[in-house]
């Protein structure tokens, strides 16, 4: 669905070599490990951990148990909420950066990614200091007299959501920024010239033409969020399990590689399904700006 905007004249045989380095990389570090996971998922846990290969659907049947399917649902719900949160916070920010900032544009963009310069783990632990019962946020709220008891955020779904949005926001802002930045500003003038006010211009022109950026942002945030396990671990206090956490624990602590593989493969299949459905719906509308 993402067609290139320009056709560069190049001999196809020569340009074919350009995919070779990445192709080799993906084959060895993506296709092969993924094939392992796929094969493992039909096997059993060995007596001392590890894997006994076989061909049974036992692991997938196990995954259908309520306790695991609930983890699936939690993951999808939290990832969706986190993605939505990023979109709601990210779109206005990207819009502002792309249309209202004229000087120091680079600096502003730099500010958006500055959190990325710190380790993910440290940033997430940092949030616990902010949102625990005696943290900065609660102290402030109580001193202002807005609440009499501390607001419980840490070790709740809300705390996790906060951490997810905080950590993944830049991934949403950048594609949105790019699509809004390259939006031809004379189109907005044309819209106003034809009698559309600011709001109508945004709805009719800006929003539909930024859809490719929205889609890219949603993908970039939603996909890693489904695999997220650090944030729920730290900010959820281990009380809320994500698929990422489940899979990690199967490989690292329980050493049940077969079950972990089945969970990983299921997650991938589920993601493919979700993405296909939603690309079909959004993609149709976003196709034309690229044509």
């Amino acid at each position: 669905m993402l067609r290139p905007t320009t056709d560069r004249a190049a001999s196809p045989s020569a340009s074919r070599w350009l995919v070779l380095p990445a192709g080799v990389w993906y084959f060895f570090f993506f296709v092969i490990p993924l094939s392992f996971a796929f094969i493992f998922s039909f096997g059993h846990r060995g007596a001392y951990g590890g894997i006994e290969l076989g061909f049974s659907f036992d692991q997938y049947v196990r995954l259908a148990q309520p306790i695991y399917s609930k983890t699936f649902l939690t993951t999808l719900a939290m990832a969706s909420a986190g993605t939505l949160g990023c979109l709601i916070l990210g779109y206005p920010l990207a819009y502002f950066l792309a249309t209202r900032v004229h000087r120091h544009k680079l600096l502003m963009l730099l500010l958006v990614i500055i959190p990325f310069w710190t380790s993910f783990l440290i940033r997430t632990y940092g949030i616990t200091i902010l949102i625990n019962d005696r943290g900065l946020l609660n102290t402030l709220l109580m001193n202002l007299g807005w609440v009499s008891e501390p607001v419980r955020l840490l070790f709740t779904p809300w705390g996790i959501l906060l951490g997810l949005v905080y950590n993944y926001l830049p991934l949403m802002v950048f594609p949105l920024y790019v699509s809004l930045e390259r939006l031809d500003k004379t189109l907005l003038e044309a819209s106003k010239d034809l009698g559309a006010g600011r709001l109508a211009t945004f709805r009719n022109i800006t929003l539909p033409l930024s859809l490719p950026g929205v889609i890219a942002g949603l993908m970039l945030v939603f996909i890693p969020l489904t695999g997220e396990y650090v944030v729920p671990q730290i900010l959820g206090g281990g009380k809320i399990l994500f698929m990422g956490g489940l899979i990690t624990s199967q490989f690292v602590s329980t050493r049940d590689w077969a079950f972990g593989s089945a969970a990983a493969v299921s997650l991938i299949v589920l993601l493919l399904l979700v993405i296909t459905v939603y690309m079909r719906r959004l993609g149709r509308r976003a196709e034309d700006p690229f044509a």
Partner: protein
Amino acid sequence: MPESWDVELQGVTKYFGSVVAVEGLTLRIQSGQFYSLLGPSGCGKTTTLRMIAGFEHPSQGIIRIAGQDVLGIPPYRRNVNMVFQHYALFPHMSVEENVAYGLKQKKVSVPEIARRVQQALAMVQLTGLERRRPHELSGGQQQRVALARALINRPTVLLLDEPLGALDQKLRKAMQLELKSLQRTVGITFIYVTHDQEEALTMSDYIAVMNAGRLEQLGTAIEVYERPRTRFVADFIGLSNFFRGEVIRSEGGLVVAVDRRMHLALPPHSGARPGQRITVAVRPEKVRLAPVSSDAPSGLVGRVASSTYLGEQTEYRVGVNGLGTIIARRQNSEIDSATPRLAAGELVQLSWALESSLILPEEGVASHEREG
């Protein structure tokens, strides 16, 4: 006000920071005119158009549209529409949706929109392309969509910002005539911005020649071409040979002393006074060339430095002592045995009718420096 104007600009000045884009511009544009703003890039013509549309606000001065002061009225509430330089068609909408956009904003009823879209598309000969997207159209077709999209709103004034610039020569010529006849049909005032003097001459009822943010001359095509009032206009519209000198009295009347030896006669009633420094402009096509026949030629004599074949015409560059190079153009259709083609190196006699000498004031260089 004895007359009513569709658009009136009064002492309009626009600064961008400390740069003056438009300075003290006063224009009155009558209803139903094809009015061109002509000038080189950076002369302020597009800024003027954008101020009328409402995208820029004048730093000083008043703009009235249909008698109403439009200060503070946003573009979407002005009854003017614009055809943008690169058309600015909405890429995610079909031709039909593009054209219907303005009426939709005005909440016109759906059947009425459908009817008027059909009408507008028929007017620009695009019937049958309703479902196409802009990128599936040729440049000329995109141009027509942009026209239909603007004209469907029945604006008081249609603003056109170099709309033919992106088309090839042949299509441009065809569109010029089409635009002109379209304007006559709809009777809407067109304000047309262009840097192409030929385009302006072909289409306009009235031309405002602009330079460095200021108005140089106002007039019909014939007036600005035949009677340029400044050296800039004489140079920008068509080609001219320029001779600077001082007016002195001689036996036959007033002449211009270009240098000590060379005197150019002035037409009667030129209005020039002895002692005045002026510039004389002569169009290349008014310069007559004749092979030197006698051994002692009189008048202006020069040597052909080069001849360039231009299709309909041949351009000669003739070196004249004391005057530099004079450019002359001759219609190729006039070449016959009596007036043969001239060759480089040939000695020729130059002459032109007295009334072909255009008298221009000697100008302060600073105020009229050409911009790039």
